[in-house]
């Protein structure tokens, strides 16, 4: 068991995190490169273009997070709101 307070787990070391980012970005690039090698049978046209799913997924998430954040401004309350 790791000592509480003393965080020396290899997963949280800055060097590991940097390595994970590099690996992640390489994988991201590879998935887009793979688009050149396979044949997307597009139903709607745009869904067959190179990297469509990459930017569409990214943009969808950004829109969802920003949308949620906006709604949160209106609807967020302290979590003790309904108590008492």
């Amino acid at each position: 068991m790791t000592q509480p307070g003393k965080d020396d787990n290899w997963l949280v070391r800055p060097s590991t995190i940097r390595l994970l980012w590099v690996v992640f970005i390489v994988i991201l690039a590879l998935t887009v490169v793979a688009d050149f090698l396979i044949d997307h049978h597009a139903t709607f046209g745009i869904d067959g273009t190179i990297g469509f799913y990459a930017w569409y997924g990214f943009v969808s998430c950004v829109v969802l997070v920003v949308g949620a954040k906006g709604l949160g401004v209106l609807l967020k309350r302290k979590d003790t709101y309904y108590d008492g």
Binding site: L28, T31, D39, Y53, Y56, G57, S60, K76, K78
Partner: protein
């Protein structure tokens, strides 16, 4: 076979067998209790597969022919996953100190299986209500914290029952039949039935009961709750309203509602509760699309979702049991000492995100492809965006904030072995069906002509999910959890309604006379007015003298004469 089945049926009805097991379990202790908890669901699973297709001879009751047992591929699919869930949930909660929980959860699961095999609307209704009662008890068993939420839960579900009953009565009046088959939302009765079904599915706007009540149950109770009520609703929608277009839009609202509320949520089990609504939204959309591909997808998705959502809630339940905490802001860094829970949680998270090689991938892509096949462009683009959103709100958010994120300083061990084994079992099913989906496809209602593992499928899904992951980590600052809840439509009856009543009832200093007193005074005034005119001394109750009658008759006749001559 059918004749002998008919005579034996009351005892062999899979739902009733599980309900009976639950009742017996209330009195059992020790090893025999463990044996029944693990044995009864397996017996039910065997029954689901042994009993032949078709319906057993009905039971006559009040002039109607009830069909308590009708088996087909769809019923077997749901019967199978419900019994697997009862088994896994029973194993997970084997050491639960609240001893009545698993027995009642078995009665709850049994009523859900009762709905699955019901061939007529009255049987559906009876098991439907039993399900509502048993699930409420599962919530209440958790203790004082769950009392109010359980109350709100049962009130909403009884309301749903009233809608359903009103719809069924209208349907019988219109058609004279209680048979449960495909309907169209073309009459008030059918709209009521649809509304009753949708309420249990957790569809917006009456969806807040789910994230309100389920996370109040115990660490094992929520696992049971996540499986049965919403998925039974999916089954009856599938049977009752396949291809009903409005379901596409209702489903899409549920999909995005679930994502947005889950993004804003801090409690890990409430995150997972919102994501139930999101996932059921995919199924409802699939049912609304109504093609064979989409209906197959909805059924398959229900099956795999029950398994991975239970797995996710088991890992959350383990964290809750071992740490006593459920808020993301108080958790983090648990991967160090809970490796098995972390791995199983990640497998559940990858499955819900429909990562290739997991069960979610082979099921959900059928719904999305169903939209493409039907050339429903808007639906397809929204479902694809939502698939990215699922990875964001459940696929990464749950494991990241609970097991990684910051070091919370907590060093709890993995949970006891019964809980570990149930998580391992469900993880195995998630990966197993993802790698080898043939057994799942063989169980589906329509023949499957679908290859999940094409290059295009895998690459597009990986792009979609991994770039969502990139968005998650780039926007981590925006996603940081705060100690907040997000208001929902239930604010209307938790705060709005009571506030109006309080106002009318005389908030001190605002209105001196309380509402009840004012009402009483109004009624008294009305009664007094009636008494004044109609009472023994009232003007309208007086007897009239003959003279005045004659006088008024003369006046009338004279008036008539004058008008005539004019």
């Amino acid at each position: 076979m059918t004749a002998s089945l008919g005579s034996l049926l009351p005892f062999l009805l899979p739902g009733l067998v599980l309900i009976a097991a639950g009742v017996i379990l209330l009195w059992l202790r020790g090893t025999i209790r463990d044996v029944v908890i693990l044995g009864a669901p397996l017996l039910v699973l065997a029954l689901v597969w042994i009993l032949p297709d078709g319906q057993a001879p009905g039971i006559h009751w009040l002039g109607y022919e009830l069909v308590p047992f009708r088996s087909d591929s769809l019923a077997r699919l749901f019967g199978t996953v419900f019994s697997i869930m009862a088994f896994a949930g029973g194993l997970f909660g084997l050491r639960q100190e609240r001893r009545a929980e698993t027995p009642i959860a078995f009665m709850y699961a049994g009523s859900a299986i009762g709905v699955v095999f019901a061939g007529d609307l009255i049987t559906v209704f009876v098991f439907w209500e039993l399900m509502a009662v048993c699930s409420t008890l599962v919530i209440w068993i958790a203790g004082a914290d769950a009392r109010r939420a359980g109350q709100r839960y049962i009130v909403i579900h009884l309301l749903g029952g009233v809608l359903l009953m009103a719809g069924i009565t209208g349907h019988i009046a219109d058609t004279g039949s209680i048979a449960f088959g495909a309907m169209k939302a073309d009459s008030p009765a059918h709209w009521l039935i649809l509304a009753g079904f949708l309420l249990n599915a957790g569809s917006w706007p009456v969806s807040a009961w789910l994230p309100d009540a389920y996370p109040r149950a115990s660490w094992s109770g929520t696992v049971f709750l996540s499986a049965f009520t919403t998925k039974t609703a999916v089954l009856v929608l599938w049977r009752g309203f396949p291809g009903e277009e409005v379901l596409i839009w209702i489903g899409l609202v549920m999909v995005f509602y679930g994502i947005i509320y889950a993004i804003l949520e801090n409690d890990m089990r409430r995150i997972l509760a919102y994501s139930i609504i999101n996932q059921v939204g995919f199924m409802v959309t699939g049912i609304g699309i109504g093609s064979e591909m989409a209906l197959n997808g909805a059924a398959a998705h229900a099956f795999v979702h029950i398994v991975y959502k239970a797995l996710l809630l088991m890992s959350a339940g383990s964290v809750m049991l071992m740490t006593g905490r459920t808020k993301c802001t108080e958790l983090g860094g648990l991967f160090r000492t809970m490796p098995l829970t972390t791995i199983c949680g990640i497998i559940g998270a990858l499955s819900i995100s429909a990562f290739p090689l997991t069960s979610g991938f082979v099921a959900k892509s059928m719904i999305v492809d169903g939209a493409a096949e039907g050339h429903l462009a808007v639906v397809w683009f929204l479902l694809t965006a939502a698939s990215a959103g699922v990875f964001l709100h459940a696929g990464i958010k749950f494991p990241w904030f609970v097991f990684f994120q910051k070091d919370s300083g907590l060093r709890p061990p993995d949970p006891p072995w019964t809980m570990r084994w149930s998580m391992i079992l469900l993880s195995f099913i998630c990966i197993g069906l993802g790698v080898y989906p043939a057994p799942l496809y063989a169980m589906l209602p329509f023949a499957v002509d679908f290859a999940p593992y094409t290059g295009a499928h895998v690459v597009s899904q990986l792009q979609l999910l991994l770039f969502s992951g990139l968005a998650f980590f780039l926007m981590l600052g925006w996603l940081r959890r705060t100690e907040t809840i997000t208001l929902d439509v239930d604010w209307l009856w938790r705060r709005g309604g009571p506030a109006v009543i309080r106002r009318l009832d005389g908030d001190p200093g605002r209105s001196p006379v309380p509402l009840v007193a004012r009402g009483r005074a109004a009624v008294e005034r009305a009664l007094r007015a009636i008494y004044q005119h109609h009472g023994p001394a009232g003007t309208l109750a007086r007897s009239w003298p003959t003279g005045s009658m004659a006088f008024w008759a003369v006046v009338m006749l004279s008036a008539y004469l004058i008008i005539y001559y004019l």
